[in-house]
Symmetry: C2
Subunit: 139 residues, 2 copies
Amino acid sequence: MNIYFACSITGGREFESAYQSIVRALTEAGHEVPTAHLAETGITSVEAGIHPNEVYERDVAWIRACDVLIAEVSVPSHGVGYEIGFALGIGKPVLALYQRGRKVSKMISGNPDSHLTVRPYQTPDEAFRIIEFFLPKAR
Amino acid sequence: MNIYFACSITGGREFESAYQSIVRALTEAGHEVPTAHLAETGITSVEAGIHPNEVYERDVAWIRACDVLIAEVSVPSHGVGYEIGFALGIGKPVLALYQRGRKVSKMISGNPDSHLTVRPYQTPDEAFRIIEFFLPKAR
């Protein structure tokens, strides 16, 4: 499947290694992840060099083209919040994952949209098991 | 005017005093600000006691009813990012203000939506002057 993986860039990279583990598991399982490079170390300075409008248009085009959006929401991010809203607005299934114990905005956890699933995880392995359970239902 | 003021709650309250100054200036100017209490000190624990779905439905109803949404985006927030996307999606004028020098997500700063205005400010007084310039055009 074509999976848009959404993670914090400007908002903070505290969970970067989790982003990388999730993206690696997705690509190893044969999924297409256009945003895979956004999990890489050093991406913040790479993205800083791209015109904001170019980033926006690129990301929105990827969301339009994806089958599902998977967001890691352990670290607050305007961009990821916006992307979740945008994806739900055009009817894409969205899975929001967060490290167990982190606080998640009630605009995410309290959203009754049937296309949205919100789940905590402890380890990247557990995150990937949640994803494997989610994907077949999202087809 | 009916103004939805959006600020970070779960994401962090570093700019709480700016939120309060902006909300005070808006209400003193005669505007209706249904979210005014979200700028108050101690709101995080108050909001924590409300069911997530109740917060979501309340905030979305306020966005639907507002004339404009003014967001303070100095501190990353999934909720505020989501609210900006939601408001633009239903055609509401949005003003995103951030403390000069803070980094703003390119999903906000790069968004070409003609209903969105993004501006830096140094002091709450400057923020309010930007708002006073923005509001008449948003009518």
